[in-house]
Amino acid sequence: MHDTIKVALIGQPNSGKSTFFNQLVGYRAHTSNFPGTTVEFLQAEVVYGKNRFEIIDLPGIYSLLGEEPAERVTLKYLIENKIDVIINVLDSSVLSRSLELTIEVASFKIPMILVLNMMDEAEKKGIKINAEILKEKLGIDVVETIATQGKGVDKVIRMLNDARLPKNLLEITAEFSIHQEIIGSARNLKAKHPNISEEVAKILCIADLEGQLGFLSSTERQALKQSFTNTLKIENPWLLIHQEKHKIAMALFEESTRIIHKKMKKSAENLVDSVLMNPYLGPLSALLIILLMFFLVQQIGGYLSTIFSIPFEFISQKLQMWRGNPIGITILRAINDGLNSGIGIVFPYFVPFILFISILEDVGYLSRFAFIMDHLLHRLGLHGKSTVPFILGYGCNVPAVFSTRIIESDRERITTAFLIPFIPCSARLAIIFALSTLFLGFRFAFFLFILNLVVIAIIAKLISHIFKSDVTDFILEIPPYRIPTLKGLFSKLWFKLKDFITFAWPVIIAGSIILALMQYFRIDVFINRAFSPFLKNILGLNPNLGLVLIFGVLRKELALIMASEALKTPVPLLNSVLSIREIATFTVFVTFYTPCLSTILALWKETGLKWTLLQIASSLFIATILAVLTGIAFSF
């Protein structure tokens, strides 16, 4: 067998690159992070025929020379790693723009295969592409594919072994390219990264003039900038490079493509958009879609939850009958409980929830939702892209916090991650629903949701004063509506679930054991005693709930069951030992107070210790205030 051949997939967002990757490798992929960043890429090893391939799905990017984190890490990856073949996946329906990235990539002189994906969509748009011309002009093999149907994928695989070096089309002809300062900087850069050509080094120097790529030292950058503005009188050399690239791409597009017919009628897409993007009907339909999703998740979740919990409840009952209650049994029961909360509580609600979100995303609705929400979020110092993590938060806060990585700017990313723990996840929703149904009424639950949204808005507004920078401009491509593929949906589901399984679940099980041991060794009595002044005098709650609230941090979904155990009363009869005022206070406090341990760890990982501590402190503070106010409101 030969050595492993390293293949990198590069393409623009929405080009179907990930679908193509799924078709290439199936479910064998695993995620990795680019060193020192939160940007992820997928990786898989596959064997085709006699060769072993390592296939890397780099993040979707519009340009190698941009300053978004994903763009920067992809560029770095290309420069610092030895890649044998690049598969450049293009959305054929927006060919001219897609070719701009191709031209950038081609200048790196790595063997390439061009994949014209979404040929069906291009055809629908009346775009007829002559692949032969592209092949001749670029000097590389060009394959037409429809990745969603798997068409053409095997052809690409067969070509991997003899991918050819692309012709370099991007040459800077502008007069500044022979300027001494730029040649000097380019040579320095090339000395550090011998893989790249001098031409590429020049382009990188110019692209780095604002310091966003981190290739040039600040003195080098200043000198280069000065020579551009003073000697050459060029304000924005980057623009010149872009224009050059754009010109080449347009020429390639025009030579290789014919537009058969221009659509005269409104397309189906525009028709749907005239409802979903309408300033009045848009928000209304968004609300309906979200409500329908929550309703279905509640229905499906409730049904699955009862079924999935059966074996764990059976085991739990058997263990309870054990005489003498030895410590081993206590730990086994705790582990069983922890497993149950994953399989019996989180999976039934969380899996359908992510599945719905993934469908909405793959259909193309989520970016439209971001468009509708942009104004509102903008006023809170956020922007449209925060919507997806927020919605995910209602499922489980942990993957929601991780999903903030899609937001490029630190300001909006940190604010969004900070706000997510305030969103009641499925564990807290279950408590709110249960207590509302039994004692507090539907109106209370509704009021609590509104209150929750208002609190989140106020905190967002407050945080926006911490940051000095302006809100980043909202610029988002709106993809055409597409039919999701099962493979795509399942791979999304799997990667979100993995965050829960590998990150949140072990913490829940560990928390469960700690909790059981505390009760076993009667430490709970001391804790209840220590916290009873706070509970009794400030919140006006039954002091036996102290342990419940403190260790609800470990396992929020158990807060209600624990309350019932601590008070030695079944949940439906809680009103016999707690007043309605106490139940309302408890519900409000549980909704808002400190995020669970898994969320705290996720937040720490994504935003750092300072923000995490601030989040814990502020949520405790807010929960206390609101709980006290609820108590007062219910006293009348």
Binding site: G66, S96, E210, F371, D374, H378, D473, F474
Partner: protein, 79 residues
């Protein structure tokens, strides 16, 4: 005139983008180029974002009001 002042369904030509380098790079790499013909498709609720279609590159892009205000356009000649 700036892009946020254009009426729905009107086709205009992008003349200039007065944005910071970050937003400028983003717009250009998304396929919104100076000289392109652009159609305004929808306005978001409460004077929110704007949805445009770049006729030359075939790309649909949602833009916040702030950035739309920085894009200078003029009406395409009727012919």
């Amino acid at each position: 005139m700036s892009l946020d002042e254009v009426r729905i369904d009107d086709v205009v030509i992008v003349r200039d983008i007065n944005a910071g380098h970050r937003a400028l790079r983003r717009l250009l790499s998304l396929g919104i180029n100076i000289g392109d013909r652009v159609r305004v498709l929808h306005f978001g609720p409460f004077k929110g974002a704007i949805l445009i279609e770049d006729i030359d590159s075939g790309v649909k892009v949602a833009l916040g009001r702030g950035i739309a205000r920085k894009i200078v356009v003029e009406h395409a000649r009727h012919n």
